[in-house]
Amino acid sequence: MAVKVIIPTPLRAYAGKQESVEVEAATVGEALSAVTTRFSDLKKHLFADDGRLRSFVNVYVNDEDIRYLQKDQTSVKAGDTISIVPSIAGGARS
C-alpha cells in the first residue's frame, strides 16, 4: 500500500530535507523501516539501540496514536498518512 509518512521539521535534516515521503508498506513498522532504509541518519533519531521507537517520538496513523492501536503492527491502507510527532520545546539554548 502506498502510504505517506510525514517527517516533522526537527527531523527533516536527516531525511533529505523532505517534509513527507511516500513508501510501500502494509504496517506502520514496515513503513518506518522503509523510511529509515532510505534515510539511514533518521534511524538513530527514531529508534533506540534495542530497535524500539524512542519514547519522545510518537507515531500516528491518520489521527490515532499507534500505542493505542497495534503499535508497529498497525496495518495501513492506501492513502493513509503516518505522522511522526517528536516532542518540541522551543526556545532556550540547551
Partner: protein
C-alpha cells in the same frame, strides 16, 4: 465534548472581585458582552479567573496581551530572564527601550497599561520543584509558555498534582503544537511523551531558529483555549493535539489519549511529588554539559596570533550556508551534517581548526575527525561569537 473548569467563587476578602462589572468595565468589554457566548456571565467568570503564565517570551507575549485584554481578573507572570535584542524579533510584549530590563517588569508594565483594572502578579524567579506547587496553588489555570523540556515536565507534574489544567503550546522553527493537558479525564504531557529527548537531540530556537510570528500564533491559540476553559464554551483542545505548520499554513489534529499507565495521572500513579527535572532530562545545572571530552581547543586570540605569524592553518567552518552568509572568517564551509560524506576533502597532514557559531557543533566535528584518524585538529573555543568578542568586533554576532 466541552468540559467546564470549575471557577471557585471569589473568596471573602477578595474585595468582592468579580461580583459585578463597573460602568467602565461594561464599556471596555462591550464586544464580549454583546455576544451570547460570553455575555455578562462569561465576563464575570473572566474577572474572577486566575491564570498563571509561565514564561513571558515568544508564547507569553500574545498570551499575556490577550488575557489582559479579555479582562482575566488575576494574571500571574513567571520569568527570571532579561530582555535581549534577539528577543525583539518575536517577543512583542517588549520594545527596544526594554532591552536590559527584567522581562517580568517590562511585561507587567505593558499589561497594566493595556488593562489597569486587572491584578498582575509577578514572580521573577526560576520555577523549580521547590516553589512550583506553592506558586501554582492560588491559580485556576496554568499556561505553559516555556522553552525547555525540564520546565515542561515540571509544569505538567505540578499541574496534575494540584488538579489544574495546563494549556500547553510549543514551537520549533515554523511548526507548533497546542493542547490542553491536565483537564479532568484528559491526558497529561507524560501521557504523550513519557520521557524527554536526550539533551542536544532536538534543537532549540537558538540553534534551529524560529519564525518570529509562529509563537505569536501559537500563544494566541493558547490564550483562546484559556478563555474557553474559563467561560466554559466551545470545544477545548482536551485530548486533541493541534499541529500547525506556518509555511504550509495547515492545521492538523491528532487524538491524544489518557494513558492508564501514566506515572503522574494514571490509575496507579507512582509520581506523587515533584522530582529533579534537570536530572530527568539528563541535564546537570543550567548548562547542558558538553557530551564530548578531551577536545583540543584553541582560543580566538591564539588562533589570530598563529594566523598573523603566517602559520599554515586550515579553517574549517561547520555551520550552515545561510550562517556563512551572515558572517564568516573565510573558513572552508563543510556543514557538520555533510562532514562524513565530505571528509575526503580534508587533508589530515594539515593543521585544522574547526569552528561553528559557539563551539558546540565544531566540538562534535573535532571528535568525529579524531575518530577518523585526524591528529592535528582543534576546536575554536567559543566559536565565531568568541572571535567577534575577542578578536574582531566587526564580525556580527547572531
Amino acid at each position: 465534548m466541552a468540559t467546564k473548569t470549575q471557577i471557585p467563587p471569589a473568596a471573602p476578602g477578595d474585595n468582592n472581585r468579580g461580583a459585578t462589572l463597573s460602568k467602565e468595565e461594561i464599556q471596555r468589554y462591550s464586544r464580549h458582552l454583546i455576544m451570547p457566548e460570553v455575555g455578562m456571565d462569561g465576563q464575570l467568570k473572566l474577572k474572577q479567573a486566575k491564570v498563571l503564565c509561565i514564561g513571558t517570551g515568544g508564547l507569553g507575549a500574545p498570551l499575556g496581551l490577550y488575557l489582559a485584554a479579555a479582562g482575566v481578573g488575576r494574571i500571574g507572570l513567571v520569568d527570571f530572564d532579561v530582555v535581549d535584542s534577539t528577543n525583539l524579533q518575536r517577543q512583542v510584549l517588549f520594545g527596544t527601550s526594554d532591552v536590559g530590563r527584567p522581562k517580568i517588569t517590562a511585561a507587567a508594565d505593558r499589561l497594566r497599561n493595556l488593562n489597569p483594572d486587572i491584578q498582575i502578579d509577578t514572580y521573577e524567579t526560576h520555577l523549580s520543584s521547590e516553589n512550583a506547587l506553592d506558586l501554582f496553588k492560588d491559580y485556576d489555570i496554568i499556561v505553559d509558555g516555556t522553552d525547555n523540556f525540564p520546565t515542561r515536565y515540571l509544569v505538567n507534574d505540578a499541574s496534575v498534582l494540584l488538579g489544574k489544567p495546563n494549556v500547553y503550546g510549543s514551537i520549533f522553527r515554523f511548526e507548533g503544537q497546542i493542547t490542553v493537558f491536565g483537564a479532568p479525564g484528559g491526558p497529561c504531557y507524560r501521557c504523550l511523551y513519557p520521557e524527554p529527548p536526550p539533551p542536544g537531540l532536538v534543537p532549540s530556537c537558538a540553534e534551529g531558529g524560529v519564525l518570529g510570528v509562529l509563537p505569536g500564533i501559537v500563544g494566541t491559540i493558547q490564550a483562546a483555549e484559556t478563555l474557553k476553559l474559563i467561560i466554559g464554551k466551545g470545544q477545548p483542545l482536551i485530548g486533541r493535539l493541534l499541529l500547525f505548520d506556518a509555511l504550509a499554513m495547515k492545521f492538523r489534529e491528532l487524538k491524544l489519549r489518557k494513558n492508564p499507565d501514566c506515572p503522574v495521572c494514571g490509575t496507579h500513579r507512582t509520581l506523587t511529588k515533584l522530582i529533579d527535572y534537570a536530572e530527568f532530562c539528563g541535564i546537570r545545572g543550567e548548562e547542558a554539559p558538553s557530551t564530548v571530552t578531551n577536545i583540543p581547543e584553541i582560543t580566538p586570540k591564539d588562533l589570530k596570533a598563529r594566523l598573523d605569524r603566517g602559520d599554515d592553518l586550515y579553517i574549517l567552518d561547520v555551520r550552515e550556508p545561510h550562517e556563512y552568509q551572515i558572517c564568516n572568517i573565510n573558513g572552508h564551509l563543510i556543514p557538520l551534517g555533510e562532514l562524513p560524506k565530505r571528509v575526503h576533502e580534508l587533508d589530515s597532514s594539515r593543521e585544522i581548526v574547526a569552528h561553528c557559531r559557539s563551539g558546540k557543533r565544531s566540538a562534535d566535528a573535532v571528535q568525529f575527525l579524531q575518530k577518523a584518524g585526524f591528529r592535528k585538529i582543534w576546536n575554536l573555543k567559543g566559536g565565531i561569537l568568541a572571535w567577534s568578542d575577542d578578536v574582531d568586533p566587526k564580525v556580527p554576532k547572531y
